[in-house]
């Protein structure tokens, strides 16, 4: 608003000066003519009013153009001060360019400074994307995001070619005029797409790496040559900054990729180690367990013929039950290690959580940690890879256990939001919480506050949850401890897989469960730490 008012005042001032100078000139000529006529011809030229009016109109119309021009020049002189101010802004901007190493931040800084300090109407920045080989607008001032977000040019677009060949700022009409009409139209269209009347190339080491696109404010259709010249000078500095930022971006990108690969490698190495251990243990342990359990079962099945006393029968049942429990542990260990095989199935969340907790039950009871589970029904079955989701949950649960150390409470809550079709899983611990400065880094790979930890657990969890288009976040609880919250969008498409049809017989735990149900009424081994 302030700018508008100032401009109006300037317009008014300009018109006043114009009128006044025209009046003064008219009066001057009037006096001159009258003096000459009277002095040399002895004739009072302007005796009648009519001739005064005629002469004034004549002089006014003759002088209007040149006087207008001079007043404009005067204003340029007045505006000279503002040019100086512009110049200072550009110098300051140039200086701050070297401090920004992110390409987008750099572009934002430039367009906003142009927009706010230099009073241009539209400023945008076009930058070459090396990977895709195109030029794309990455930031703009004075435009809706929808107007510039998808503006792209191929390297052989006319405007890009012109910039590359001429290596000078292009002004729309000047550049279009000498071209054949199809090309001129195309060029005008390119300018239109950039919402610019003037395009200043960003050239670094002979390569066109982008452009600054500007439209002046107000009635003027173009910038003064002086403005364009200083913009161009600025663009040379900016080009170097963009080049550096590009290098820095690439470097950051490759570091990120490297970290990801490294973590994935470590992760899979860890996995295959667990898998080998699990199968190794299984073979060594399951055979003796089979013999113990089998012989006990043979005796139990003979109870119809031989009457045992209660104690013997009880002992035999316990043997069968406990051997199964021992076998379950290695079985679960193997299941965990299988997460990288992406077989998707319908998963019962409650079972998943219970299984996982039971795997850590020994550790938990040793550390005197109480686990409270709350499952809000109904919880629909989820389509996913059981190993992956189990691992995601295990990592969060382990994290809670380690955060507490000894003595504390872990609360695990699950509920389903019918309206958003999102499942929410909260794992809250009564540990010390997370230091404020660590909060943004907690999901970074290799970030850990514990000695000897890989720093991969939470990162892997996040990767898994993101794989399901879900989110995982952490917050410190008001009282004490931290809360991890997983949100998973509901998925349950049926699977057109032959494997699913055989799923029942393929599930290694199913037959055993079915057979042992009668000797094992006192609950499965997973439930004994419900509240420990």
């Amino acid at each position: 608003m302030v700018n508008l008012y100032l401009r109006k005042r300037k317009q008014f001032l300009k018109r006043t000066i114009l009128t006044v100078s025209l009046l003064i000139l008219a009066f001057f000529f009037y006096a001159l003519f009258r003096f000459i006529a009277y002095r040399f011809f002895g004739y009072d030229l302007f005796a009648s009013d009519i001739s005064i009016v005629v002469l004034s109109v004549f002089v006014m119309s003759l002088l209007y153009k040149p006087v207008d021009y001079f007043v404009l020049l005067l204003f340029k002189e007045v505006l000279f001060r503002s040019y100086l101010r512009d110049h200072t802004a550009l110098v300051q901007l140039t200086r701050s360019l070297t401090k920004v190493l992110n390409r987008n931040e750099l572009a934002n800084l430039i367009v906003n400074t142009f927009g706010e300090m230099l009073h241009v109407l539209v400023a945008s920045i076009l930058v070459r994307e090396k990977s895709k080989g195109i030029y794309r607008v990455i930031s703009a001032f004075g435009l809706n995001p929808s107007a510039w977000r998808n503006v792209e040019f191929s390297p052989n677009a006319l405007i890009i070619e012109l910039l590359r060949i001429r290596r000078v700022p292009l002004e729309r009409e000047q550049a279009a005029r000498p071209l054949p009409w199809q090309d001129a139209n195309q060029l005008r269209h390119d300018f239109q797409e950039l919402h610019a009347s003037c395009v200043i190339p960003l050239i670094f080491q002979g390569e066109l790496i982008g452009s600054i696109n500007l439209t002046p404010r107000g009635a003027a259709k173009t910038f003064s040559p002086q403005d364009i010249k200083s913009f161009f000078e600025f663009a040379k500095e900016a080009a170097a900054a963009f080049h550096n930022a590009g290098l820095f971006d690439e470097l950051e990108q490759s570091i990120r990729e490297l970290m990801k690969i490294q973590s994935e490698f470590l992760h899979s190495a860890q996995h295959s180690a667990i898998a080998q251990l699990a199968t190794g243990i299984a073979h060594e342990i399951h055979n003796p367990l089979t013999i113990i359990s089998g012989k006990a079962q043979i005796l139990l099945l003979k109870r119809d013929k031989i009457a045992y006393d209660d104690q013997v029968e009880d002992v035999l049942k316990t043997i069968v039950k406990q051997t199964k429990r021992a076998a379950d542990i290695t079985r679960k260990l193997l299941m965990f290690s299988e997460s990288h095989k992406l077989v998707k199935e319908l998963i019962d969340f409650e079972m998943l959580v219970n299984d996982t907790i039971s795997l850590l039950s020994y550790q938990v009871s040793l550390d005197q940690i109480q686990v409270i589970r709350r499952f809000e029904q109904p919880l629909p079955k989820w389509l996913g890879n059981i190993g992956e989701l189990r691992e995601a949950f295990l990592n969060l649960f382990l994290n809670a256990v380690q955060a507490i150390g000894t003595k504390g409470i872990i609360e695990v809550e699950a509920r389903y939001h019918e309206r958003d079709r999102v499942a929410e899983l909260r794992i809250c611990d009564s540990g010390p919480g997370i230091a404020k400065e660590d909060l943004p880094r907690i999901f970074h790979p290799f970030f850990t506050t514990r000695e000897g930890a890989s720093g991969l657990g939470l990162f892997v969890t996040q990767q898994i949850i993101h794989g399901y288009k879900g989110s995982v976040r952490v917050e410190n609880r008001p009282g004490h401890g931290a809360a991890f919250i997983i949100e998973l969008p509901y998925r349950a498409e049926p699977l057109p897989r032959a494997f699913e049809a055989e799923g029942d017989s393929a599930d290694p735990s199913a037959p055993g469960d079915a057979g042992l149900r009668d000797v094992q009424q006192s609950g499965d081994p997973g439930s004994f730490i419900s509240i420990s």
Partner: protein, 125 residues
């Protein structure tokens, strides 16, 4: 009712053999893959209980051979613990069931009986 038990652990073979013999099965036991294939040739079992992990020739190889020659013989895989890959491979090769150790003898006997009944049922028709 002819049953072949294949396991490299002799104790397991023994107690399974006595368990099934008590229930009037005709039982032979083999403690290696090669012995199992030989037994299949002369004993002609209706059902085989087959362990996967055995030295030299493992259960999956035996399964492949048996199903190729005698597709009518029912094979129940009995193993300590395997990855999903192995389970899927067994099912693809034509295994009729998959049971993990430690075994539930009741379940196992029911399964074996079902398989034999299914066989004699299809013979009669």
């Amino acid at each position: 009712m002819k049953l072949l038990i294949v396991d490299d652990e002799v104790e397991i073979c023994d107690f399974l053999k006595s368990f099934f013999e008590e229930r009037n099965y005709e039982v032979k036991a083999a403690s290696s893959g090669q012995a199992a294939l030989a037994a299949v040739e002369h004993f002609k079992p209706q059902v085989i209980l087959l362990d996967i992990k055995m030295p030299v020739m493992d259960g999956i190889q035996v399964l492949g051979e048996v199903k190729k020659k005698y597709p009518r013989i029912k094979v129940i895989m009995v193993t300590a613990l395997e990855t999903r890959d192995k389970i899927e491979e067994c099912l693809r090769l034509g295994a009729d069931n998959y049971i993990t150790k430690p075994l539930s003898l009741e379940y196992l006997e029911n399964d074996v009986r079902e398989k034999i009944e299914a066989l004699s049922g299809s013979n009669a028709s």
